[in-house]
């Protein structure tokens, strides 16, 4: 089900839900969850099914149970907008967690950082561990390999008979890997891979190398 890749002599497991597990550091990386997006829409008169709210938490529970990480690092856009009722679900969810939780602030994260800190979540804009750089926005920095989110990468595949597929993916460049968006109610942005890029499409069941 998962794919294993090596970067800077470290081992990373790619999961079909779009998360990534750093084996040596026992750290789970998750990008662009966009919690609260559905409630934000509902609050503004757009009746998105409220049941979809819980799907994010169910999937978070599933991947955490699968990897049992010591640390979980959210690569930004954890919350979609201002605080709303989903914050309470989030609080309840955090209370159950045994791992350390980190949040690297993304452009959507406009809730005061102290609110996260009050829940025991460490916050910051970036994190460097050895020669790995974790951020929300994609970054190029000499000597570092960057893991990031923000883009919601997707890939388009073509087959015989004019067949076409669009899928979310992990998008790996020579010095960077962009994680797919984790959230239920998020879109994708199609990227075109260059010669040296590697693309891992996800189907919710499998991670498949496509180029």
């Amino acid at each position: 089900m998962t794919q294993t890749i090596c970067i800077k002599d470290q081992t990373f497991l790619l999961h079909p839900f779009g998360v990534m597990y750093w084996k040596e550091k026992a750290m789970l990386l998750i990008a662009d969850v966009h919690l609260g997006k559905i409630s934000h829409f509902r609050k503004h008169g757009s009746a998105i099914p409220a049941a979809a709210i819980f799907k994010n938490f169910e999937q978070l529970d599933e991947v955490i149970a699968f990897f049992q990480p010591q640390k979980v690092c959210f690569l930004g856009d954890l919350f979609h907008s201002y605080k709303n009722t989903e914050w309470q679900f989030f609080e309840a969810w955090i209370a159950k967690q045994e791992s350390d939780i980190l949040l690297l602030i993304g452009n959507h994260d406009i809730i005061d950082e102290r609110k996260y800190q009050d829940l025991g979540i460490k916050t910051g804009t970036e994190l460097t561990i050895d020669s790995i750089l974790l951020t929300h926005h994609p970054e190029e920095r000499a000597g570092f390999f960057n893991f990031c989110g923000h883009i919601h990468p997707g890939v388009q595949l073509q087959g015989l008979g004019k067949q076409r597929l669009k899928l979310p993916c992990f998008f790996q460049k020579p010095n960077q890997l962009i994680l797919p968006a984790f959230g239920v109610f998020t879109g994708i942005y199609v990227l075109e891979p260059e010669e040296e890029d590697k693309v891992y499409a996800i189907t919710s069941k499998e991670v498949i190398i496509v180029s």
Binding site: R42, G45, S46, A47, P49, A50, G161, L167, K205, V210
Partner: protein, 820 residues
């Protein structure tokens, strides 16, 4: 004043203009003065404006004998027009009569183009006649105290009702009328419609079935016999005429002599991009036309459009390349010649366009038909027949459009609020919602107040509140503002305004086209080459460019289908060709193509159903030819693809045009199995169609409109700076969430019902299957594409259907990739 004296005033004025009142005009005056409602069936340019404006004025004179000295203020009549481009014309005509009679009556326009100052002025002091659009009428209902505005309004006239009927804007009108009837029970309701197949139904939809208004109504037909002559432009060298294409540019040289011969020529194109290209090409190859030709389509700014319309009237233009934007209203007497480029797809539309020329009574209207590819000549031949027999289509009205109802109720909640028990009977009295159940009604009320299913304690859903006295009301200003901005957007795609960097509005353009461009790219728009500088808010900023470009925005709305009447005529023409009885010039010109078709395949006769298979670099093609029009083929293609996909895992790309459909796959289709399993059977039709719909994108596309109209997706509004922070989402995403979490949602369901009723035309599909059941299937395995197949297999707009596992499909595609 007696009726006779009043009529005398009008007839005297007609005399002064050198006109004679038509019988239908006088009949309409009579009926109106008697207090009747009705539907007037009269074509454009027949004097229909005066058929209804005259009695409005006469009625005012009757009620105000001192009308010349004292002006009684307040709204007397509303004139609804589907296209704001028409409002100027109507205003001038109305003012001419009112002024000449010395009535002091005022005429005002209120559309999306009307500025804020003017709107405010109207709010304080309504003109006697208000010319407006369905959207702007809704907006009036969204303003506080709207009932006072309409209380003394004596008449509402819906112009071009045939254009609104069969659209959701028509449903907006039905709802607005149901409200106006309650505010003022004596209001007269009149519709004006060109000839369509279901005129009686059109009258019922307008007035409400079984309503008092309907009982007290009449249908008046103008019955103006107009002679129409259709001439096809047949290429001199058929051998080099292309088998596919949709532009028709290769016949440009044949068009020039026609333009030169006549005073003013209108060239109708089917899409805005085609319009842009034709305009450019004429100027490039015949620069002497510079300044004498112009272009007119819906995306060009208002000033330019008005200028073009005025120039046509002044006879200062030789030719205008246009789209359906010039289909309606506006009487252009100087137009002598019409050229239709590409199949018009419907007889009524074609006749209406033909009617744009030769407006003088008794004069023959000439319309030239220019085929864009060879097979389209068959359509031309069918059109000849249609004109001879005067066959016209029905316009099918919508039923139970929950999205429009939600929009309407929100509108009422924004203005003065509403009590459900008062509004429900009004809504039930409309044609669209006559079968609305109590359950559905309660669901709708729940949807706008608690957001259908909710989380009770935690939910913050906010839209319509229920006040203590039971009034449904929106008090939040942000919600109200967003709703007002959204009313105008009953179109599907987000639209951006195109502006010069230094200012100056050029027009509007669909977002999906712009999203494919990068800054620095050059594209053609409104007849100019423009360089994209950047996109900011809802604005596309550009500068002029001298670079050449091939990028022309295309608009998705341009795809039309053959109506069932046209399809039947088309089949008749082909049967003639099959039996070697080609008699028309068009069919004769096609003889070498027919010969080519017959090399490996056949031209099907009445008792035959043709299937062709062949292999190309792209994969394995199977083409089916029911000749039933695009929509039926879309349904039939999905149905057959679905049924084949049950036999074994397979993926299809499906293409369709008005002649047939194609199933394309990376594996060979077992055609013998298709025939042996009798996949064209009527059995389980509804069920299989439903399942094939789930497998394709059709309902998903319908859902886009529904999500916008019901206010779930906020698109913003051109020309308006808007803070919609964190509220962008696509209807695609929304569709998935509903599918996975709330599949019983009425709006989600509506996407499927609409696909059945308006897109797939399930009834027509059943008829087609019945016909096919009686035919012998002829399967031809060919070595290469045939002339009939060519326009289909080269079509890029495709539907997909697969019964293979996603993971398997990905792996196949990768294998292909690595082979390269």
């Amino acid at each position: 004043m007696t009726k006779k004296e009043l009529f005398e005033i009008a007839l005297h004025w007609f005399d002064q203009q050198g006109w004679k009142a038509f019988p239908f005009q006088k009949q309409t005056w009579e009926a109106f003065m008697k207090g009747k409602n009705g539907l007037l069936n009269a074509p454009t340019g027949s004097g229909k404006t005066y058929a209804l404006w005259v009695p409005v004025v006469l009625n005012y004179i009757k009620n105000n004998p001192d009308y010349k000295t004292k002006h009684k203020k307040g709204l007397k009549a509303i004139w609804i027009t589907p296209l704001r481009a028409l409002s100027q014309e109507i205003k001038q005509a109305a003012e001419r009569f009112a002024d000449d009679l010395g009535t002091q009556m005022t005429v005002g326009i209120r559309t999306g183009d009307t500025d804020q100052k003017e709107r405010a002025k109207q709010k304080r002091n309504m003109p006697d006649l208000l010319i407006t659009t369905p959207e702007s009428l809704q907006l009036l209902l969204a303003s506080k105290g709207y009932d006072k505005t309409f209380k003394n309004c004596e008449a509402i006239i819906i112009d071009e009702w045939h254009e609104l009927l069969g659209t959701k804007r028509g449903v907006q009108i039905e709802l607005a009328l149901s409200r106006l009837k309650s505010i003022n029970s004596s209001i007269r309701i009149w519709g004006i419609s060109a000839t369509i197949g279901n005129l009686e139904q059109a009258q019922q939809v307008l007035l409400g079935p079984e309503s008092k208004s309907f009982v007290n109504s009449t249908l008046i037909k103008a019955n103006l016999n107009k002679k129409i002559k259709v001439e096809s432009i047949i290429p001199k060298e058929m051998e080099t005429f292309p088998w596919r294409g949709h532009l028709g540019i290769h016949l440009l040289d044949e068009v020039i002599p026609i333009i030169k011969k006549s005073k003013t020529t209108l060239l109708f194109t089917n899409t805005r991009s085609q319009c842009e290209i034709w305009f450019q090409k004429i100027l490039a190859q015949y620069p002497e036309f510079a300044g004498e030709i112009a272009m007119h389509h819906g995306s060009i700014n208002k000033e330019t459009r008005l200028w073009v319309e005025q120039a046509i009237r002044n006879e200062s233009l030789t030719a205008v390349v246009c789209t359906s934007s010039l289909d309606l209203g506006v009487d252009f007497a100087p137009v002598e010649t019409i050229i239709q480029i590409g199949g018009p797809k419907g007889v009524a539309r074609f006749l209406q366009r033909a009617g744009r020329s030769g407006h003088q009574p008794g004069k023959t209207s000439v319309i030239y038909f220019l085929p864009t590819h060879a097979i389209e000549l068959v359509e031309a031949s069918a059109l000849q027949e249609a004109v001879k027999e005067n066959t016209v289509e029905d316009r099918i009205p919508y039923l139970n459009s929950f999205d429009v109802l939600i929009q309407y109720l929100t509108t009422l909640a924004v203005s003065d609020g509403f009590h459900p028990e008062e509004i429900f009977p009004e809504i039930k009295s409309t044609f669209c919602y006559q079968a609305l159940t109590d359950d559905q009604w309660n669901w709708i009320l729940g949807f706008i107040t608690v957001g259908s299913q909710s989380l009770q304690n935690y939910d913050e859903y906010k839209k319509v509140e229920i006040l203590d006295d039971g009034l449904f009301k929106i008090n939040n200003r942000g919600t109200a503002m967003r709703h007002r901005l959204q009313i105008g957007t009953i179109v599907s795609d987000a639209v951006l305004t195109v502006k010069y960097l230094k200012g100056g509005y050029i027009g509007s353009i669909e977002e999906w086209f712009i999203s494919k461009l990068k800054p620095g790219d050059v594209f053609t728009f409104a007849g100019r080459n423009l360089e994209l500088v950047r996109i900011k808010e809802m604005k596309v900023l550009v500068r002029k460019s001298t670079k050449k470009t091939s990028k022309v925005p295309s608009w998705m709305g341009g795809r039309l289908t053959l109506t069932s009447q046209m399809s039947a005529l088309l089949r008749q023409e082909l049967y003639k060709a099959s039996a070697n009885q080609a008699s028309s010039n068009e069919l004769k010109a096609l003889s070498h193509i027919f010969k080519e078709q017959q090399k490996e395949s056949i031209i099907p006769a009445e008792e035959q159903f043709l299937i062709e298979t062949f292999k190309t670099r792209e994969g394995y093609h199977a083409i089916f030819y029911p000749f039933e029009g695009r929509f039926v083929h879309e349904a039939l293609g999905s149905l057959i693809a679905y049924r084949i996909s049950l036999l074994s895992p397979i993926s299809f790309s499906i293409a369709f045009n008005d002649y047939g459909f194609e199933l394309l796959s990376d594996q060979e289709i077992d055609m013998q199995a298709v025939l042996d399993n009798n996949l064209f059977t009527m059995q389980d039709l509804h069920q299989d169609l439903q399942k094939s719909l789930n497998a394709t994108e059709m309902a998903r596309r319908k859902f886009r409109d529904i999500a916008v109209i019901s206010g779930m997706v906020f698109t913003g509004y051109p020309n308006k700076l808007l803070k919609s922070k964190h509220l962008q989402s696509s209807s695609q995403l929304l569709f998935n969430v509903f599918r996975d979490f709330e599949a019983d949602n009425l709006l989600y369901q509506q996407a499927f019902i609409e696909t059945f009723e308006h897109q797939l035309e399930e009834g027509r599909l059943a008829e087609a299957l019945l016909r096919i059941e009686g035919q012998t299937i002829i399967w031809k395995s060919c070595s290469k594409p045939t002339p009939f197949s060519f326009p289909i297999i080269t079509d890029r707009l495709r539907e997909k259907l697969s019964s293979e596992k996603l993971e398997d499909r990905i792996k196949k595609m990768i294998t292909l990739l690595t082979k390269k």
